[in-house]
Amino acid sequence: MTLSASLNGAEQRRPSRLGRMLEDRLPYLIVAPAILILLLVGLFPLIYSLIVSFQRITMTENDTTFVGLLNYAELFRDTRLWASLGHTAIITAIALPLELLIGFLMAQLFIDRMPGRQIFLALLVLPTVISPIVAGATWRLMFDVRFGPIGQILSFIAGEPVRILWTVNPAYVYPAIIICEVWQWSPFMFLLLLAALSNVDPSQLEAAEIDGASYLRVLRAIVLPAIAPVIAVACLIRGLDLVRIFDIIWTLTEGGPGSMTETISLYTYVQGFSQFETSYTAAISFLVIALLTVITTLVLKRMELAR
């Protein structure tokens, strides 16, 4: 009796045919919307761009005949393009190690617990979370030759008036960009490295201390290997960001003086939206994608090896 009653109960709970179908297909149904959007906004423009890069579309002409690799051949003759890649490389090569080093030193400073540590951390996060445009604007205020505090401080230290046009003078534009960049992103490195350092097995450190290992030895033998994967991820994320640096330069120097601080992102923007070299811009885009793919793959390979 109880048996048949419960089976009836089970039957009542049985969902409709439609409900059952929706449940059977659930793994695909819930993937579909996201993938659709990604294809639409992610992949479709790339394909479109690929096609355009083989054509000859400019501001004045809508020439859709296929010209093969003409645009790509053009890339190799474009000195301004290679210069912009050089600028990007310079900024990345200087800013990334600096951020890593400063971030590591900050992490060392804050690794041990002390009262008020959380407040320091909350404050130090601030530069990283603000919009890069705001960061650029802030440093433009700071660097201003007449109304900014940097010149004032330098004058005070030097004991005589120091007048540096940070965002215009060719000798100082790169330091200006890198100072701003390092200011904004060292805290990012700091946060990641701090977390990584706190995850280092304390018993290993204690064992090393009992063994009488020196600080440098502990660092090299225990700490660095333990945090190496995090360093790799952090460098990958920041490296990719630095290669596409745009906002800070836009607000600080706008690529100037001349095109001295023009990065690859800025140059692509100029080609696309000032010169309206549609096809050529598409070709540059693919150069950038190819470059980043190579870098990413290399870094990921290194990370695999490190594991």
Partner: protein
């Protein structure tokens, strides 16, 4: 309440053949324990009954109806998981009521059943707490409470006690047994712990490599194992297996150890061994079948054996003593003060009426 019938159940995980043709009938109200070493397919079998895994072939019937095509929720079963599977964001009360709410049970009924179950399990004062505020044993009770309130046809337990410490495990084991007496629902219980299996089960189903090795009442498996595996799996410390050769002469039979020395088998055993002269065997003697020889006459089938005590492990009530027999180490379970020191020579009595003789190649018990 319902009976459970499995026929020809197979389950593959990729290339791994986890369940290899299981036929099993569990009668209404029975407490069945699936037991076996890890990887024997016991959990997979349970999950297949629950509907969490689909069998690759074979039929599963609950209460006479084939349920292969039914979802877990449509099978009217309740399940208790190893890690309790309590929802950390719900109170104890809401955790227990969760299944009832899912089935749109009226609120009054929910409240009644939850308080009944809470009382039965002695957790009435914990209803407003969250799982993280409970001890391991209390969490286990909540998990069981969640199953009880469902008034399901079938209870499934997936190693529910393995995350508890030893003392709590004993306590909860008794609790679960008492529970089964009170609600008499069919229960299927998975464990790798042979003591749990022995103490809880009406019927033990011993699995090995995805197949049923032997099933039956606990003592039946313990006393009449069909294979060396069963004999070795049940019992603690486990059975001693000593390689030997059979010597038969008409109605008389004896085992001859490879290191020399022989033990005469009782006539009941010897009868079935006619013509097995010279056969290689493993002699299975449980530690409990050793005792200190008292000096008086020996019962029929009990033989005396003199040995030197090697390792001595007192447990308080009994003392496990390692001795050499037939050239291998064997454990004898003696009275607490039967043996005092390492190296002491002791006279033992071995009850050969309950010895098992195993074919070393096939693993089958031959007598």
């Amino acid at each position: 309440m319902a009976d459970v019938k499995l026929s020809g159940v197979h389950k593959y995980y990729g290339n791994v053949h986890a369940v290899r043709g299981v036929d099993l009938t569990i009668t209404d109200g029975e407490f069945a324990v699936l037991v076996g070493p890890s990887g024997c397919g016991k959990s997979t079998l349970l999950r297949t009954i629950a509907g969490l895994e689909d069998p690759d072939s074979g039929a599963i019937a609950i209460g006479g109806a084939v349920v292969n095509d039914l979802r877990p929720r449509e099978r009217n079963i309740a399940m208790v998981f190893q890690n309790y599977a309590l929802y950390p964001y719900l109170t104890v009360n809401e955790n227990i009521a969760f299944g009832l709410r899912a089935r749109k049970t009226p609120e009054i009924e929910i409240r009644k059943r939850v308080s009944e179950a809470a009382e039965m399990l002695g957790i009435g004062n914990l209803l407003q707490r969250y799982p993280r505020q409970l001890s391991g044993g209390q969490r286990q009770r909540v998990a069981i409470g969640r199953a009880i309130v469902r008034k399901a046809d079938l209870f499934l337990f997936d190693e529910p006690l393995s995350n508890l410490d030893a003392q709590l495990r004993d306590e909860m084991r008794a609790e679960i047994k008492r529970l089964h007496h009170e609600i008499t629902t069919t229960m299927i219980y998975v464990t790798h712990d042979q003591i749990e299996a022995m103490t809880l089960a009406d019927r033990i189903v011993l699995l090995r490599d995805g197949k049923i090795e032997q099933q039956g009442a606990p003592l039946e498996l313990f006393e009449q194992p069909r294979t060396g595996f069963v004999a070795g799996f049940l019992g603690s410390p486990s059975i001693n297996l000593i390689p030997a050769t059979l010597k038969t002469d008409g109605p008389v039979a004896a085992v001859v150890f490879q290191s020399g020395g022989e033990l005469k088998l009782p006539s009941a055993k010897a009868m079935s061994l006619a013509g097995a002269q010279g056969r290689e065997i493993l002699v299975g003697i449980r530690p409990q079948h050793f005792s200190r020889a008292g000096g008086g006459p020996l019962r029929n089938g009990v033989v005396s054996y003199s040995a030197v005590a090697d390792l001595i492990q007192p447990t308080g009530t009994r003392t496990f003593t390692t001795i050499k027999i037939g050239g291998v180490d064997a454990v004898a379970e003696l009275q607490a003060h039967d043996v005092r020191s390492h190296g002491e020579r002791i006279d033992l009595a071995i009850d050969l009426n309950r010895v098992v003789l195993i074919d070393p190649v096939s693993g089958v018990v031959i007598a």
